[in-house]
Structures are given as C-alpha cells and as structure tokens.
C-alpha cells in the first residue's frame, strides 16, 4: 500500500505541472489585466507596475520564472493586495476554511448517512419518504437561498446567532449548516442507493440468519459496501469543502480561502490564481488518493494496482 501511495504522489508531479502550465497560459490569454480599473491608469504607470511585477518580460520567460519560483514553494506576491504574498494569504485564510469545512463535513455526514441508511432500511416508509423529500428540497435550494433563509430565521427573527461574521464559536453554526446541507442531501441520496444495493445481497441474509441484530447488520455487514458511492463522491467533495466556498463565505462574512478562487480570477490576480489553483489541486490529488485508498480498504477484492 505504501508503494501505491508513493507512486500516486509521483504521478501527482506531472499532474501539478500540467495544471500550473495550463493555468498560467489560460490566465494570460484571458482579456483584462490585473491593473485594469474603471479609472484608467496612464500607459506609463501601467508599464511601470507591470515592470515591477516582471509582467513586461516575454511570456515564456515569465513562465519559466514562475515555474522556478513555484518549485521553491514561492507563490509570489498578490497584485490585488500589495504587501502580501500569496503564501501568506493562503496561510491566513486556509485554517478558517479548514475549520468550516470540517464542521460542514460533520454536518453532512451525520445527517446524510443517518437519513440515507434509515431510508434504505425502511424503504418506502415514512422513514424513507420524509428524509428523501427533504434531501430533494435541499438539493434544489441553492446555497445562496439556504444561507439567507437560515439567517433570516435564526439570526434576525430568533436572534440566536449573529447575521454574519466569524468571531465567536456560535458564528460557526449557520455557515456550517448552510454549507453542509447540500452535501448532506447529496450524501443521503447516494447512501440510500448504495445501501439498497447492499441490503439486497445474499450475505445480508446470512448475517440475519446468524442472529445479527439490525445495528450489527447495518454497521458491520452493510456499511462497507453501502458507502462505496459516498466515498467516491467524497474525494473531490471534501477537497471542495475544506478549501472553502465562495458563496457561503460571502453570505456569512467568513474570512476563508474559498472567496479567492473566484475573486482572484476576477481580479486577474495572476499569482493568486496560480497559488489557489495549485493549492486546490494538491487537495484534489491527496483526497482523491485518500478516497481510492479508502475504497480499496473497504473492498478487499480490489488490490492496490
């Protein structure tokens, strides 16, 4: 298994390299530059700012230069926030997103798995229809509606929480619920499907014949097979969760990393885009690897290959 993981990390090198290269050229091809604003700066000032950041060099030279910096782990300065490096901004914002992501993930897994398993066990009963109906609603209520609705109810009317901000532990609740709700719904659906598949298997009958109770059947015999689709989904989903969500961070004023994935691109903050994309890519690589490891661990028929 260690060899498998080591090999996957080796494979990640070309992956990250291709991502960095593609991102570099995509950014430079996109119209508009980091120093465009509604009030035009003079050509001289623009030229000098570009020189300051080395944007006046030939494109390929810039590319080589940036690759050199990236190899050293130096993501470069931010154009939008002069005086801050991309490394610094990520180091600042990521812990916040990580925390919110973990909380949202906990919400999503707790609600999603419970609802999905209950629905599968008691198929076509109220235990199935009610959570699944809620899940369907959760799926068609987008985050930008869910967030304001929760704030309206729990912050503005009931006054249990602040309407936005990220200062006190209680400020975590609504963003975590909002962010987790969609994933909870998704997981519930996948989980139900997965468990239905497994609960019809012969070996579940064997377990029952052995006198195993409901909980034992569910957790010991069905769980591993039933959550396979959830695990496949969780790889990229967790990468998205932990690196933050633009919408949730905007609605709740969370100083996380997610906003940069969108604003950096809109600001044409080249180095920030590169930094955030690579950071996210590392997450995707690691979490997809983790998902694959878990898949193999869950399913002994798969060998690390």
């Amino acid at each position: 298994m260690l060899r498998f993981i080591a090999r996957r990390f080796l494979e990640a090198i070309p992956v990250l390299f291709i991502i960095a290269t593609a991102t570099f050229f995509m950014m430079r091809l996109a119209p508009g530059g980091p120093f465009d604003s509604e009030k035009q700066v003079s050509a001289e000032v623009r030229a000098r700012m570009e020189a300051h950041y080395g944007l006046d060099k030939p494109l390929f030279q810039q590319y080589l230069l940036q690759m050199k910096h990236l190899l050293r782990g130096n993501l470069g300065p931010s154009f939008k926030y002069p005086g801050r490096t991309v490394n610094e901004i990520i180091a600042d914002a990521f812990p916040v997103s990580l925390e919110l992501g973990c909380e949202a993930l906990a919400v999503a897994l707790a609600f999603g798995l419970a609802a999905g398993m209950a629905a599968a066990l008691k198929q076509n009963s109220a235990w199935d229809h009610v959570p699944m109906g809620l899940a369907m609603i959760g799926l068609c209520v987008p985050t930008f509606v869910m967030g304001p609705l929760l704030i309206s109810a729990f912050a503005l009317h009931l006054d249990w929480f602040n309407a936005a901000g990220w200062f006190f532990p209680r400020d975590r609740v609504l963003p975590a619920l909002t962010l987790g709700a969609y994933y909870a719904a998704y997981i519930a659906r996948l989980c139900r499907g997965g468990f239905l598949e497994i609960l019809n298997q012969d070996y579940i009958r064997t377990a029952r014949a052995k006198g195993a109770g409901g909980a034992r059947v569910l957790f010991k015999h069905a769980l591993r097979g039933g959550i396979l689709p959830v695990v496949s989904f969780l790889g990229p989903a967790v990468a998205g969760l932990l690196t933050g969500s633009f919408v949730v961070e905007t609605i709740f004023g969370v100083p996380g990393l997610g906003r940069y994935f969108v604003t950096a691109a809109f600001n044409r903050d080249y180095f920030m885009v590169m930094g955030s994309v690579l950071f996210y890519a590392c997450f995707v690589v690691v979490l997809n690897l983790a998902a694959d490891v878990v898949l193999v661990w869950l399913n002994p028929k798969l060998r690390f290959e």
């Binding site: 992956v15 659906r189 499907g193 989904f233 996210y280 290959e305």
Partner: protein, 301 residues
C-alpha cells in the same frame, strides 16, 4: 440466489437486449404510479415551455413585455404569478425560461452522463496504466479555474448556445466518471463478469452489456442530482456572459434574481423555486421508476 424468489434472478446479459426486455421495462415503468406521475409532470412542463417558445403570448403576456408603471406586483388575477420589478409577467418568463433550463438540465446532464459513464467504465475496467492516465486527466480538469475557462471559451468562440453545453459538460462529467470507475472496479471482480470473460466475450461488450447495467442505480441517482446542479450552474455562466442573455431568462437566473429580493418580493423566488423543485421531484420519481424497471435483478420494493 433463491429459487423461490418470485421473480427469478436472471443474468443481465441474457435479457440486456431484445424487444421483450424493453417492452417489459416499459410495462413495469407504466405500473409505477409515481414514475408515471413524474413522466406526466415533466411532459406537461416541457409541452408548456415549448408552447411558450412557439407562442410567446400564451399567458396573455410576452416574457419581455414591460410595465414600468406597475413594477413588482404580487400574484393577482391578471398576472397569476405576479410581476418582476420591470413589470414583466413572471409566468410568461418562467415558461419561456423553462425551455432553456430544461434543455440545459436534461441535455447537459445526458451529455455529461454519457461521457462520464463511458470514461469511468473504461478507466475502471482497464485498470493499470490507462486507468492511471485517465484519472489523472480528471484530476487536472477538476483543478483548473472554471471561470477563466468559461471566459476563454467566449473569447475564442464568441457567444453561443453550444458553448453552454461544452462548458457545463466539461465540469459535470468528472464526478460521474469517478463514481462509475469506483463501481466498475468493484463489480468487475464479481463472478458473472469473470464468467463473461471465460465465454470469450469482447471487452467492450462486457463493459457495456454486463457491467454498466449493474451500475444503473448509482448512475440514475447521480443523474437526478446533476440536473438541478446544471440548471443553477447556468445562472453562473449567465453571470460570466455565457448562458442566456436578457431579456431572455432561465430558471437559474430567475431563482438567482429572486433570491436577491426574497424578502421584498417573495413570489419572485417561490414560484421559480417551486417549479424547479417540481421538476426535480418528477425527475427523481421517474429515475427511481426507471431504475426499478430496468433493474434486471428483480424487485426492489
């Protein structure tokens, strides 16, 4: 495999083709009341949207006819679902926008589904180097900045409805491919696949006649999950300038705009949201029904 289970289990390969299989499936689908309900609702919605497309004045108002003096009016006898801040009839806009949303939702989902299933099935089945390369490509596509990708699409190809599908298809199939691959890897070790190998069947046949039908459950679940995602994604693309252009509309855009004024003019969010929820529920019922009808391994309910 119990001999006495009333509907005997049959290997998928044996019934995978042939008209009787499809007739049976259709028959089973037709027996499922919820699935029929879903089908009917979707059909009616699609017909209404299509009619609104052909005759924009079907509701008495066109989607672009403004009444600035009226402004945002709550539902009333003239405007059944009320009007937006420009005094445009919401029902007309919903129906007219439904065309594009349904098309995007269903077609883009179908496209990403097809790509995702084929791609994931090949990767999962082939394993080894090919699988490695294919899945690393997925990793790469996951990480690239989507907004920039869309902007570049428009810069190079102009504004074009086809691009909408390209842009959506480019992202939506990735997760599908991963899920399918995971399932294929699990299923391909099962004995019936090994038996198919032993029979000397071609690999392509094994994948698509033996393995894929076994993945119907997760695939259909995922497909129904993708539709609302795609419909909402379209509003993001509209933000970037791809997607529908004003004064045209789409459900995604209506919901996004409705969300901004949900406290002042709640009907502008509620009705588009309700229509989308209705679509989603119908799709879901239909999806479940389809899965059961096509599921060759027997009863699920």
């Amino acid at each position: 495999m119990a001999d006495s289970t009333p509907m005997a289990m049959v290997e998928p390969a044996e019934t995978g083709g042939g008209s009787s299989f499809w007739q049976d499936a259709w028959h089973r689908l037709w027996q499922n009341k919820l699935a029929v309900f879903g089908l009917v609702v979707l059909g009616v919605l699609a017909a209404l949207c299509f009619a609104a497309f052909l005759w924009p004045k079907i509701t008495g108002f066109s989607y672009e006819q403004q009444n600035l003096a009226l402004g945002p009016a709550p539902p009333n006898r003239v405007h059944w679902l009320g009007t937006d801040p420009l005094g445009r009839d919401l029902l007309a806009r919903l129906l007219y926008g439904g065309g594009i949303s349904l098309m995007v939702g269903l077609c883009a989902t179908a496209v990403s589904l097809t790509i995702g299933v084929i791609y994931g099935a090949i990767a999962g089945f082939a394993g080894g180097k090919l699988d490695m390369v294919l899945m690393r490509i997925v990793d790469i596509l996951y990480a690239l900045p989507f907004a920039i990708f869309v902007i570049l699409l428009m810069v190079f190809f102009g504004q074009n409805i086809i691009l909408l599908f390209v842009a959506i298809g480019a992202v939506e199939w990735l997760t599908m491919a991963r899920i399918v691959r995971g399932q294929v890897m699990a299923v391909k070790r099962q004995e019936f696949v090994e038996a198919a190998h032993a029979l000397g069947l071609k690999e392509g046949r094994i994948i698509f006649r033996h393995i894929v039908p076994n993945l119907l459950g997760p695939i259909i679940v995922y497909a129904t999950l993708t539709v609302p995602e795609v419909i909402l994604l379209e509003s993001f693309l509209s933000f970037l300038g791809l997607g529908v252009q004003p004064p045209h509309s789409s459900w995604g855009v209506l919901i996004k705009e409705g969300a901004e004024v949900m406290e002042e003019y709640p009907w502008l969010l509620i009705y588009p949201g309700a229509v989308m929820a209705l679509t989603l529920f119908s799709l879901n019922f239909l999806g479940d029904g389809l899965r059961d009808a096509l599921d060759v391994r027997g009863s699920k309910d």
